[in-house]
Symmetry: C2
Subunit: 328 residues, 2 copies
DNA sequence: GACCCCGATGAACAAACGTGCAAGGAGACC
DNA sequence: GGTCTCCTTGCACGTTTGTTCATCGGGGTC
């Protein structure tokens, strides 16, 4: 359900609105609503589905402020971060886990992003997963900017960068700002040259002014090297270089260590993503994390102050807190 | 479900919160949630009911701002008032109509009222009906103040003033400020004398500082004199005096004319409610109206600028706009 | 006009849900 | 310890809801 679709059918929207009022506010049954609208119950069911899909009805669960979960309090105390813990049974597969976290993240993003804002998107499987669950929301004068160049598209289930960007822009009625550069450069000087181009500098300038950043964490370095980046961008030598530099993960192609440091990792001058100082200047830095494999990069990102709001599944959150407490 | 109850059972609240997350955010079925929580599906159903009742989950239907209903636009254009039209089939009885409008009003009030605010309540059957549908919401340092003295309690289905006040205070965790005076004075000088008392002046001072006012409209003067006020407070002579003064209705015992004027209605110096200038200084003045009989007082209140937000059923709204347009 | 395509519709079915009810359990009082 | 009361639980049932499917009707195309 795109915003354009929603606008193309004002009567349908009006009826859906009416049905939603009657159903969600006045607690009528669909049967009763069908009578009022002179249609069949099935149509009412569909109408309500449409109302939910298109964001006409907004359902949010809010914990009373005086009783945040123990885990959320732990993140606040240790890292000064607002955590949004997604309850997930422990035996859930990593794919389901990501899906459920992404769903919560999408709702949260919807409540944060608004008119006159700029949203920066890191390109990766996590941000792609969130894209699948966005709820439309009308905004004005807002834009979406891509934070790092696109990796290849052969990797399973990950959408094209432009496709992702378009989904966000469509859901929020925002202007999409592409960033047409490779994910990683082979030669740092190429990057420097490109960064002097006016078309690129314009994008960099927009990035610098973003109000909200949304990103996942790369964890290619922990344990077995994942194949995600093996598509012509990183080779074995690169991985070795990163490993020997002590990198534990990346945000938008920029790598950092367990202690949150990143400035002196040479590899980063080949990355297309924004300097992490730029990121740290953003007021809302929403990090979406699912799966225990991401605990090391998560702790690094937290140490580096890269995160202001964290959406994470319960198990990973618990593991992160335990590991942090064990190390300090 | 009172706020006190909600606090007395933190584990229940926590479980309800979890269930609500899984149900409303992650779209799991109750069966699945039951498994995660190691309980039966029925319990989950009840848990979710509790979560809704106690305001843990907040469902709101919001019209896209670019497409308000035609009626809402009409109210904005003609009176500068934000209208909240409650869809109700035309053949609905006045009692059902009031009930459905009150439900919407309660939800709206919940979205407006917050910490550090003072809410003024006119005492009447409409405000009483709203009380029945309040959703709990936690606030701090807020208070509820009664705007006018209590009429008698013999009239059907209307709660005691203190009972109403208590419901609001309980739902919002606010301090309740009673106003122990009669609805109408026989002798204006009694009122003047009482108004000099420090205990009364304290309440009047609070009234003067309120941020939100919630009131219905009295329509005792249109057509057949209703028996609502016939409880020892108003007699035939009073009604005649009001009729000859041109009064069309009242807000919190203070009467006004069709053109919105009220200052020179002698009867008002016997009323216990606040001067309408005090009311007009309140930033949110929420008026709840149901039933076509209230069209004349509604138009008067609109003319007098007494209303900032209007919650009204569709039929009455349409009638009011039609009548206004016909007269001008 | 004939044809096709696509989206909308209501009937029918299966899944999901709310609630009355009886059983069980914890505490209060005797 | 008995027992009385009140609250909670899970089951069973009837109701409500989501979804599939066949059908219909309104454009667009030849």
């Amino acid at each position: 359900m795109s915003l354009a679709d929603a606008l193309s059918q004002p009567d349908k929207t009006a009826e859906a609105l009416r049905a939603a009022q009657l159903y969600y506010v006045q607690d009528l049954t669909m049967e009763a609503i069908a009578q009022e609208l002179h249609t069949s119950r099935s149509s009412v069911s569909r109408l309500l589905g449409y109302a939910r899909e298109s964001g006409l009805v907004d359902i949010q669960v809010r914990s009373p402020h005086d009783m945040p979960s123990r885990l959320e309090a732990a993140f606040r105390d240790r890292f000064g971060v607002t955590a949004h813990i997604v309850p997930v049974p422990d035996h859930t597969s990593d794919i389901d886990r990501l899906e459920r976290v992404a769903l919560s993240a999408a709702r949260f993003l919807g409540s944060v992003f608004d008119s006159n804002m700029t949203l920066g998107l890191a390109w990766g499987s996590t941000v792609s997963a969130v894209a699948r669950h966005l709820t439309p929301k009308r905004t004005h004068n807002s834009q979406i900017v891509q934070l790092n160049g696109a990796a290849n598209t052969r990797t399973s289930g990950i959408l094209y960068a432009s496709e992702i960007l378009h989904r966000y822009a469509d859901a929020y009625g925002a202007y999409a700002q592409q960033f047409a550069v490779p994910a990683f450069f082979d030669d740092p000087s190429t990057k420097l040259a490109l960064w002097r181009e006016r078309s690129i500098r314009r994008v960099l300038e927009i990035q610098r002014r973003m109000d909200v950043a949304l990103f996942g964490l790369g964890s290619q370095l922990s344990g077995v090297p994942s194949h995600v980046y093996v598509g012509g961008y990183l080779d074995d030598a690169d991985f070795e270089a990163l490993a020997s530099a002590g990198a534990v993960g990346d945000v938008a192609t920029v790598f950092f260590r367990a202690d949150g440091s990143w400035r002196d990792i040479p590899f980063n001058n080949r990355a297309s993503g924004p300097d992490l100082d730029v990121l740290r200047n953003v007021s809302r830095r929403i990090c979406v994390v699912a799966g225990a494999a991401k605990v090391p990069p998560l702790l690094g990102a937290l140490a580096g102050g890269l995160i202001s709001d964290l959406v994470v599944d319960e198990g990973t959150a618990r593991a992160a807190i335990e590991q942090h407490d064990a190390q300090s």
